[in-house]
Amino acid sequence: MIFKSIKWRLQLWYALILTVLLAGFGFTAFQLERGRVLRPIDEGLQHRANALANMLRPPPNRGREGEPPGEEPRGPWHRDDRPSDDPAPGHGLATRLPEFAGRPFLLPRQLAGLFEEADTNGFYFALSRDGKVVLSSKNIPAGLVFSGALSRPPNPPVSRGAWREMLFFPSPSGRVDGEIVVLVGRSIAVELDLLHRVALMLSAVGGGILLLGLAGGSWIATRAIRPIQEISATALKISAGDLSRRIDAADTESELGQMAMVLNSTFARLESVFSQQRQFTSDAAHELRTPVAVILTQTQTTLNRERSPEEYRQALQSCQRAAQRMRRLIESLLAIARLDAGLESPSESPFDLAASVQDCMELVKPLSQERGIRMFGALNPVSCLGDEDRIGLVINNLLTNAIHHNHAGGEVQVNTRLEKGVAVLTVSDNGPGIAAEHLPHIFERFYRVDTARTSVEGRVGLGLAICKSIVASHGGTIEVLSQAGAGAAFTVRLPSPSPA
């Protein structure tokens, strides 16, 4: 659960990266320090190894030109015959080693100074042939196993436990060839101790930095998360029903500010949709109130006393008109609700728009004759893609509108055509037209040009809204052109399956 939280995941990644960086840094620092501590020791080892090698090698001119050895080889010496001068290079000690096996043995003085016997931290050496120690300094550490050392490559110096050792072959070839192997080493216990303390210190400092880093990271993460929490708190209040709330998006430049703005605009749209819905419900209720009032008043007055059959008939007719009006309203409301819900997506099949218009004109003919309005059709066959019944409703609504909002003796022109691959229907009348102030609202639900209901004709103010919904669900458009006093023309554009 806690690892689902972005804050904790951020924190975790941050800790991981910080740990890796600190470990890398600490390791490098330790290696540098170790190199710094060990370099003088290795140089000392090298120095001593060179000196030993010099002593072990045969004299430079010896054996050259096949001369017999001209001089008695010098050293190693027994305690008392050690010469006071420095040994010259090329003592050829290697050849005389067997002499000293198991006997006290002294290095030339200068060489001996390099291997301080008394000092346990001092350098030591050991000579070996075939893995067996043949000569060694006294401070050689216990448990030195040559065979183990032999398996190592000669040079460079390596650490073995608390010792630093260097192996080399004094033979000119520099290879293991049955000759003497020399090990030079010294204890590095003190240095190791030092390095150990350095490592501890680095760990402590690294740990400290890690803790500080985590604390800082946590602070940053909390700060980064806080706006998100504020956003979610606001969103929660909005989801609880207070649609008027908005997220405080003061910092609009940041990513979160942009998100807040996006959310705010979503909320604003949501609120407007909700208020439209509320308005729609209230309008619908309002539209139902008047017919109910008619029925209530009629029945209450009529039932007050005995009436003549004629009075009863009139009352019933009045109730019937009211009920018819409610029925029409309910049908319209249901149509709108279905279109809104998008439950029934329009069936898409091609049909002839002109034929549909022709049918609708036949249907409304009685109405137009009753009102003395002439209808003219200029119908070019044009294939149209959509739900024929619904488009029929659109045509019917537009025709009855044109008839209702016309002067007696007026004209209604209906035209269908194919225009740029789109099926176009135009219904125009020469009635009083629509004032410019009403045009933007004409397709709104329950919007009426006259603020009072024109319920006399059973108009409920939903016809054009239904038209718009249907046309929109077909991916078409509906628009109106009108001037007060100069009639109105409604144009519907619908997709056609036969592009020109």
Partner: protein, 216 residues
């Protein structure tokens, strides 16, 4: 009592007018705001039932313009019952507010209350000497006994009682008892007055010659 009913739904207007006439009111009707304002300014109606949604001039505008000249009690009739609308209605000078669909009995009771208030009466029972009027039940008692009056006679008696102490001219009486469709001759008033005197005692209505009638 003469009432102006303004409503653009013809069926509702017709049935309301009929119901009010049967209650003994003289009823004038108007189907749009302009007609309503014209009539309301021309006559002193006892009360006006005014729909809000009207063609030409809406109810609010009619009310606002009427209030510049007259204090006629107005009952607003509306299909909107949002609290905001009620407040707006009462604030713009309406005396009462009824939401559609309404109960006819309630509407009548509210109209009676409006008329009572405008004539400074507080109760529905008014006693004048030996005569007692129950304006709610529209019944009259003389010395404790119920008396049958015709609707016109009752309306005349009630109007005079509600304007008790004032001299009511014949023109006033005529204007308040007969609606625009009545073509009754004004001397019919004398017949009604004499009939009432027969039933409720001659001293109930005093004649002020040259001025009109009065109930002390």
């Amino acid at each position: 009592m003469r009432i102006l009913v303004v409503e653009d739904e013809p069926d509702l207007l017709a049935s309301l007018a009929r119901a009010l006439r049967e209650e003994g009111y003289a009823v004038d009707t108007a189907e749009n705001g302009e007609e309503a304002l014209f009539k309301a300014e021309s006559y002193d109606y006892d009360t006006i039932v005014l729909d809000v949604m009207l063609p030409k001039l809406d109810g609010w505008s009619v009310l606002r313009r009427l209030r510049q000249t007259k204090k006629t009690p107005v009952l607003m009739l509306t299909a909107r019952d949002a609290g905001r609308d009620r407040v707006r209605g009462l604030d713009s000078g309406a005396d009462d507010y009824v939401v559609k669909p309404f109960d006819l009995d309630e509407l009548f009771a509210r109209l009676r209350a409006l008329i009572r208030r405008s004539s400074n009466q507080t109760t529905t029972i008014i006693e004048v000497g030996a005569v007692k009027l129950d304006t709610a039940a529209r019944r009259v008692f003389f010395r404790g006994q119920p008396v049958e009056l015709t609707a016109r006679e009752y309306a005349l008696a009630e109007f005079l009682v509600l304007h008790r102490g004032k001299v009511v001219t014949r023109t006033e009486l005529y204007e308040h008892l007969f609606d625009e469709d009545d073509s009754t001759l004004s001397n019919l008033l004398d017949v009604h007055v004499s009939n009432i005197r027969k039933k409720l005692g001659a001293e109930f209505i005093a004649t002020r010659r040259g001025h009109g009638y009065c109930i002390e």
